[in-house]
Symmetry: C2
Amino acid sequence: MSATRIIIADDHPIFRSGLKSVIEKDPSIMIVAEVENGREALEKINELTPDVAVLDLDMPEIDGFGVARELQRSNLTVRVIILTMHRDETHFNQAIDLGVRGYVLKDGAASEIVGCIKAVAVGKDYFSPSMSSYLLNRSRHSSSLGMRAGISDLTPAERRILFLLSELKTSKEIAAELGVSPRTIENHRANICQKLDLQGSHALVKFAIKNKSEFA
Amino acid sequence: MSATRIIIADDHPIFRSGLKSVIEKDPSIMIVAEVENGREALEKINELTPDVAVLDLDMPEIDGFGVARELQRSNLTVRVIILTMHRDETHFNQAIDLGVRGYVLKDGAASEIVGCIKAVAVGKDYFSPSMSSYLLNRSRHSSSLGMRAGISDLTPAERRILFLLSELKTSKEIAAELGVSPRTIENHRANICQKLDLQGSHALVKFAIKNKSEFA
DNA sequence: ATAAAAATAGGCATAAATACCCAAGTAAAT
DNA sequence: ATTTACTTGGGTATTTATGCCTATTTTTAT
């Protein structure tokens, strides 16, 4: 059996060379290209049709999600692995929704990414152990009756306000920035609180700060 | 001239092996140890007395700052380089205050860390270009007459309250936790606001969140 | 075309944070 | 011993955020 042909996309040169040296120890995997942004990744994938693409999420020009989205639309058969620092549920869920076959945390053992590539190459899925609990949440999410809302249930305006709140702006400031009445902002805040089941003093600001990374 | 002897401390295996492969290309540098937490770093530095220590900031057990602090207290001559993702002024300033000789961002070019090690080895300082603007701020800071008060001017009680505020607790909650009257907390807050020249809605909470890392 | 969802705005109440003021007891410094 | 700094507590007022309503306009979907 011939080696698995993969492409690596990550904008950190040092990390990339670490990844390379770790992967190259395994003779069953062959790195056919190494790029530092999403645009180059798409170009090389089109040109070289690798079996697997290992993508960072935070990349210039087009991020890992953007690449995965493009690949999903195309009729290419490349399997996508996300290799990232983001351990939060939102990023993970978004990745799954984009059809990725692997999700590995950057701070994991070196052997983990190699194991993931091998698994994905033979058609299996592979997710970092610390992410597996989110898989449970996903299935429960759609099946349970309680179905408490999440950030994804917010409207665009609500999300914009949540973002501005995470920057510690007041309703008045946000209203001025968006050119609407402060009362509008306050109503949006109230609606968000209801949707997210938040209550208590400054609960929304607290939420905005804690979950900043999920909508920034 | 003999090679520069260095130790590397970083908890990300893949990144560490990238760093290793990049550095090993330069024959004038020799990696004498490679560890994955601060405690091990201190042990190995004591044992092997390397010329330079390349430290990540986010590490288990003892972080990079903790290691730098210990080294500053000791009579060891090892020169410290911080290699981190944190590009904010607070982390940078804290590093400088701990006497580090180099501060390099992880997302920089691979050659940057090598250049930094070489510079520091011969007694020079080396800071990532994007950090250099903060150096200007520092010198202006200490020379200006205005000399507005900082966190260091706060009393123990005030600092404790600031810390609890950064965890988004209300005055009432803090009062309950410390077993005093809510009015006491409110007065402390007012005093802190005056000392730090803070004004406006929830200014103190905003400050507490933004500067959390400085007193956490 | 009609129904549903989203964005807009207001009234009214309570809780919390800021912004001033003042004072008493304690601890540390000299 | 006396000043100084710190901690503690209170009074009062304003601004901001939450909680719970109603209501109009605009956009979206079917």
